[in-house]
Each structure stands twice: as structure tokens, then as C-alpha cells.
């Protein structure tokens, strides 16, 4: 009977998974925009969004509708094909990589052996999108923002990978599900205590890779007005914006999976533990954003080349030595 009707289960799972992931990204985007603004309001001693819906909960929806209604506009002198391609290149990997993240014991679209590599490789494509967007808009500020983004992302990829390697050596696998389930349920069994230095470097690199403050130089609004997305408006801008928040979520998911035990918790392990950890990390990112000033560009690169990479390498060597003993 099974041979009569050929049904591609694998493809079906991926499609359903992608639909679920898209809904997850969209909902997360809405929630994060609201949280970001509300927490900013709390830190800055004001109310934050308040008018649309109870406690302003519908504000992100209103913002999204406003952006949808904007005219689609290509600036004079821009390269239309590249200009419109850039936001799509930015958002696509941000959605796709969620299929490899283990949200819960039975909640993972595809359990692949190269999950970690897949995520790190796909998120690297975002650099290309920002570069194209900045280049194609024929705007000097956008060009400067794109140049900054390339230098920053490329530099911070290195310590990012170097800080993951010790975990790979410890676990011996690139499979995110195995990495998560390899840790125990209690906080002292998580890899954050085995590899605190790697955790710190990884967290800072995630901040830099997602262009979050204090590393938000590509869009440093007091220097470059809006950086690489100066000329973007409407849905194109919204896609860049959504992609930025998605990369934040991806980064937090990776940290939660690799360092914080993933979906495991002291009582009743499951997806809720994973989400709680992710949201705590996101709140810390938002808190940092509203507290610190922005670094200067040469300082940013100095931190990477003079501090992060040497420390990550030393950490890696020490880990290797301990493992081989």
C-alpha cells in the first residue's frame, strides 16, 4: 500500500515547518518591537506605546500596517534590481535557519548533523544583503554604513566561530539537538559553567553580528543618519527591520541551545524553558541597547582583533589540552 501512493513526507514536514517558522518570526517580531519600546520607556521614565490597544499592545500591528501602506519608492540613481533584492536576501536566511533549531524535545523541523554549521553559514549571508542595500541605494551615508557592516561582520565571524569550537570539541557533534540534550537539566550542568569565557565572547559577537548597540555602527543614526537603510522605506525597510529582530532571536536561540541547556529545565523540560531562556537573553540585549553609548569604529575592530580573537584562541587551546589529558 505504501508504495502505491508516493507521499514526500520529508518535503511536507519542511513546508509545514517553514510555515510555522514564518509565523514564529512574524509574531516574535511584533512582540519584540513592543517589548523593545516598552522597556525603553521604562528605562527612560516614560510610558512607551500606550494609545493603540490596551497598554499599547497593538502598536507594532499599527506600525506594520503603516509600513505596508507606504509607497514603494526607488531613489533616483539607484540600481532597482539590487535595491529590491537586498531586503529579500536579508530576510530569507533569517527565516530558513529556524528549521534547524531544537525548540523542544519533539519540536524541531529537521534534525540534521550539521545544524550549527547551517545556522552560522546562512546567517553570514546577511552581510551580503546589507552590502548590496547600501551599495545600490546610491547614497553616501548608505555606502559608508555598508562598508562599516562588512568590516564589522567579517571581523566578528572569527571569534564567533572560535568560541563555538570548544563546545564542539567537548560534545563531538554539530547536531544542535545532541548539544542541547547533552547538557543536564540543572544550571550547573550547562556548558555556560564549563565554558564561561566562550559564552561571554559568543554573546558579544552575537551583539556585534546582529548590529545591536553598542555595536550598531552600520546604522549609527547620529553619524550616518540611518546607515545602510537610509533610503529604504515602507515594506523594504520593514523587512530589514524584521530581519534584524529575527537575527537577534536566532542569536539568542543559539546561545540558549549551546550554553544554557536548550529546552531542558529543572522541572518539566520543554519548549517553554527554551523560550524563557531566549527571552531573558533578548531582554538583556534590549537592556544593553538602552544603556550604553556606541563604540567608535576603530575601537570596535580593536576589541575584536586584539582581545576577542586571542582570548578565544587561548580558551580553545586550554580546552583542547584539558580534553586530551
Amino acid at each position: 500500500m505504501m508504495d502505491l501512493i508516493f507521499f514526500p513526507w520529508q518535503l511536507f514536514v519542511i513546508f509545514v515547518g517553514l510555515a510555522g517558522v514564518m509565523a514564529f518570526v512574524g509574531l516574535n517580531g511584533l512582540l519584540l518591537v513592543y517589548l523593545d519600546r516598552k522597556i525603553a520607556g521604562f528605562i527612560q521614565r516614560r510610558v512607551g506605546p500606550y494609545e493603540v490597544g490596551p497598554q499599547g499592545i497593538l502598536q507594532p500591528v499599527a506600525d506594520g500596517l503603516k509600513l505596508l501602506g507606504k509607497q514603494i519608492f526607488t531613489p533616483k540613481g539607484a540600481d532597482p534590481a539590487l535595491y529590491w533584492l537586498a531586503p529579500m536576501i536579508s530576510i530569507t536566511p533569517a527565516i530558513v535557519v529556524f528549521i534547524a533549531i531544537p525548540f523542544g524535545p519533539n519540536l524541531q523541523v529537521i534534525n540534521t548533523n550539521v545544524g550549527l554549521i547551517l545556522i552560522l553559514a546562512f546567517t553570514g549571508i546577511n552581510v551580503l544583503a546589507l552590502c548590496l542595500g547600501g551599495w545600490a541605494s546610491q547614497n553616501k551615508y548608505a555606502l559608508l554604513g555598508a562598508a562599516r557592516d562588512i568590516a564589522q561582520s567579517v571581523a566578528y565571524e572569527i571569534p564567533l566561530l572560535l568560541s563555538v569550537l570548544p563546545i564542539i570539541f567537548l560534545t563531538g557533534t554539530f547536531n544542535l539537538f545532541d548539544i542541547a540534550s547533552g547538557q543536564g537539566a540543572w544550571p550547573w550542568q550547562w556548558y555556560i559553567l564549563h565554558q564561561p569565557v566562550a559564552f561571554l565572547i559568543f554573546f558579544v559577537c552575537i551583539l556585534a553580528e546582529t548590529n545591536r548597540s553598542p555595536f550598531d555602527l552600520p546604522e549609527g543614526e547620529s553619524e550616518l543618519t540611518a546607515g545602510f537603510h537610509t533610503d529604504y522605506s515602507g515594506m523594504a525597510f520593514a523587512l530589514f527591520f524584521l530581519a534584524e529582530y529575527s537575527y537577534m532571536v536566532i542569536g539568542s536561540c543559539l546561545i540558549a541551545t549551546i550554553f544554557l541547556g536548550g529546552f531542558q529545565g529543572p522541572i518539566a523540560s520543554g519548549a517553554w524553558w527554551f523560550l524563557a531562556k531566549v527571552y531573558i537573553l533578548l531582554l538583556i540585549m534590549i537592556w544593553i541597547r538602552w544603556t550604553f553609548p556606541r563604540l567608535r569604529f576603530d575601537q570596535l575592530l580593536n576589541i575584536c582583533w586584539k582581545w576577542m580573537i586571542p582570548i578565544a584562541v587561548v580558551n580553545l587551546l586550554v580546552t583542547l589540552a584539558v580534553i586530551s589529558l
Binding site: 527612560q44 521614565r45 562598508a147 553619524e223 538602552w290 544603556t291 550604553f292 553609548p293 569604529f297 575601537q299
Partner: protein
């Protein structure tokens, strides 16, 4: 090349006449007139090599409102409210420079109490000006939150002054021979309360911002202005005090009753943006000291000299009267030909001189540093153009 011709014919007079260096791999960037960090309609033409600035040239005149010419067709009294529009952050200093010049021209006596009220309100206004600069400067450096904290404190000053003066921004409070309204007990108690609060807040500001690692790295050693450069361009105020010279009009040519108070002139010898930042933070503390002393010694009596002329007609003469504003030396050179309105009024604005040295200092710095230098000069654009 078609593109070259198109680019050469684009832009306005200034961008076409902008003298770039001989190098071919540079980019001309128009910073302003609408840019988040120029805080107004200042425009700076930059020739950049990557992120490094090869040449910088400020373009002025976008908010030139002919205040000096307006003074020539107005009576001396009528011009007083205009002074508040020149520097909207420290309007009382500008008002004082004009009224003080008229008083000096006509030899009008000002009652004791009025002098004290002038000192108290002017120093409150200086604190509010420095607070706004503080918030805006840190906003330029990429931290948004301190801006709101600064406005929180500034709001109290605005409330205190609003009850007495009636406006919250472009104050016009000083009259020839005194001040417009007397202050009451509530003003005194509210001001004392504010002074106590502000001392605590300054500690918080230090912990939150001044001691911040990233913040210090963005300021220390950035935009070094040697004293010789300050002298060359006539820079005054916190800019010259951050370059190691204790020049303050309140001390060097004391006007009103400033010689009676015990206060320090903060000086830093580092010459960098951090020096100018710390000078302003210390000035807030010194202003609080002056206000507290003035409130303690506040005499009773009239707040306006009743014999002062309502429609002055001074004898032909010319006088110069300078006060210390939030940004430096605010001067009014008043020439009278014996008529009801001035023959000529020359306003000396400190921001104009302070901006002049920017193009020399910004050379060879990064764009981010140029923004930091620009912020540390504390420019108010309407004051530059007048």
C-alpha cells in the same frame, strides 16, 4: 564622463565651490543642513577618505534672522524679547547682555534685590542649558537614555522659571533697571529643593555616564584644541576652560554682583572633549553653589528701579557689555546716536567663534570623532547665524 559632469553640476554654490584636495580617491559628503547630530540647520561639507576627514568646511546662514538689523528699527525696550530667540538654551544671558548694555549707556541703577534675582535666574538657566547639552551630546554618542534623565531635571527648572517669567524657553525677564516680576517664597523653596536634588543627580550622572568605559574612550584624547588655537579663533566659555585657561567673564570682568560669590572656575588642562565635558559638569555644581549663596543673601526691597526710563533715549555714545553665557562670552556692542533706537547693535556670539575652530580640529579625525568634537563645542545654531 557623463556621470562626472552630472555630479559637477549638482549641488549648490557651496558644494560646487568646495575646494577639495588634489587627491582623487576622496568623497565629498554633505553633513547637514538636516542631520541628526548638527542639532539645527548647520551644514558641514566634508571631504572624506574612507571614514577619515580630509577637509571640513562649515556652511552657515541657514537660520540668519537679522537680529542686529531688527535692533536698528526697534526701540531699546522693544528689542529685549528678540534676544531670547538668539540662543534659545540660555536666553537670559542674552537678555542680560542687551539690558546691561542699555543700563551702562544710560547709567541706570539696578536695585540690590533685582541683581540677586538676575543672578539666580541666569544661573538656573545655565544649568538647564548645560543639562540639555549633556543629554544631546550623549545622544550623539549613541546612548539615548541620559537624554531623558537630563530632561527630567530640566523640566523642574522650566517649571520654576515658568511661574515667575511666564515662558519656558525663550525667556524675556530682565527690564531696564531690574526684572519684570518679583520672586516669592515658593520660588525660593522650590529652587532650594532643586539644588539639593541636583547634587544627588550629579552623582548618578557620574556613575551612569562619566565613568562609563565606552563613553570615556569616545571622549578622552579626542578633538584636542590647544590654547593657542582657542586664542586664534577667539573661543570662549567651556571650550577655552577645557584647554587650560581660566577665562570666565564672571571673574575676569565682573558684572552685576558676581564678585560677591564664592565659586570656582573649573579648568582642565587635557584640551580634549573630556576636558570640555568635565568643565560643563563642574559648572553645574558651581552654579548650584552660586544659587545657594544668592538665596541665602537675598535682600528685601524693590525688584525694579521705578526711575528707570520706560522708553529710553540715551545720549550719543557707544558701550560694550559682556556676560558669561552657557557657551561663552556673550557680548553686546551698542552704539547710540541719541535717537529712540540704537544706531548699531553688534552681538558677539560665542558659538560662532567656537565653530570657527572646528574645521582645523576636525582634520584627520574619523567621522564619529568629528561628531563627538562638534557636540563637545555645544553649538546653538541660531546663535551662530543670529
Amino acid at each position: 564622463m557623463d556621470l562626472d559632469r552630472r555630479l559637477a553640476s549638482s549641488g549648490d554654490f557651496y558644494s560646487q565651490k568646495f575646494q577639495t584636495t588634489e587627491r582623487e580617491d576622496t568623497l565629498v559628503l554633505n553633513l547637514g543642513p538636516q542631520h541628526p547630530s548638527t542639532h539645527g540647520v548647520l551644514r558641514i561639507l566634508l571631504e572624506i577618505d574612507g571614514e577619515y576627514i580630509v577637509r571640513a568646511e562649515p556652511v552657515l546662514g541657514y537660520i540668519h534672522r537679522m537680529h542686529e538689523k531688527i535692533a536698528e528699527v526697534m526701540t531699546y525696550t522693544q528689542f529685549a524679547p528678540y534676544t531670547g530667540r538668539i540662543d534659545y538654551l540660555h536666553p537670559l544671558a542674552w537678555g542680560w547682555s542687551h539690558i546691561g548694555a542699555v543700563e551702562r549707556l544710560m547709567d541706570v541703577q539696578v536695585p540690590e534685590r533685582a541683581e540677586y534675582i538676575r543672578v539666580i535666574t541666569c544661573e538656573l538657566n545655565r544649568i538647564s542649558s548645560h543639562l540639555l547639552w549633556w543629554g544631546a551630546y550623549i545622544n550623539d554618542l549613541g546612548a539615548f537614555t541620559p537624554f531623558f534623565y537630563a530632561f527630567d531635571d530640566r523640566e523642574i527648572i522650566s517649571d520654576i522659571l515658568q511661574r515667575i517669567i511666564g515662558s519656558r524657553l525663550t525667556f524675556s525677564f530682565y527690564r531696564i533697571g531690574g526684572v519684570a516680576t518679583d520672586i516669592d517664597d515658593r520660588f525660593v523653596s522650590e529652587t532650594r529643593e532643586f539644588c539639593n536634588r541636583m547634587k544627588e543627580r550629579l552623582k548618578m550622572y557620574k556613575a551612569l555616564v562619566t565613568d562609563n568605559f565606552i563613553f570615556r574612550n569616545r571622549l578622552e584624547g579626542i578633538g584636542e584644541i590647544p590654547f593657542e588655537t582657542c586664542r586664534k579663533y577667539g573661543a570662549t566659555g567651556p571650550v577655552v576652560r577645557g584647554s587650560g585657561k581660566a577665562y570666565d567673564v564672571r571673574r575676569s570682568e565682573p558684572y552685576s554682583i558676581y564678585d560677591r560669590f564664592d565659586f570656582e572656575i573649573p579648568v582642565y588642562h587635557t584640551c580634549d572633549a573630556m576636558g570640555r565635558y568635565l568643565v560643563r559638569m563642574d559648572e553645574i555644581r558651581e552654579s548650584i553653589k552660586i544659587i545657594e549663596q544668592a538665596l541665602d543673601a537675598l535682600p528685601q526691597g524693590e525688584c525694579l528701579n521705578r526711575k528707570a526710563p520706560k522708553r529710553p533715549k540715551p545720549p550719543p555714545n557707544d558701550v560694550y557689555f559682556a556676560v558669561e553665557g552657557g557657551r561663552g562670552k556673550v557680548g553686546a556692542h551698542l552704539v547710540s546716536d541719541g535717537g529712540r533706537s540704537p544706531y548699531r547693535l553688534k552681538l558677539r556670539s560665542p558659538s560662532y567663534s567656537n565653530l570657527s575652530l572646528f574645521s582645523e580640529v576636525a582634520q584627520g579625525t574619523l567621522i564619529a570623532d568629528a561628531i563627538s568634537i562638534l557636540g563637545s563645542l555645544d553649538l546653538v545654531i541660531p546663535e551662530i547665524d543670529r
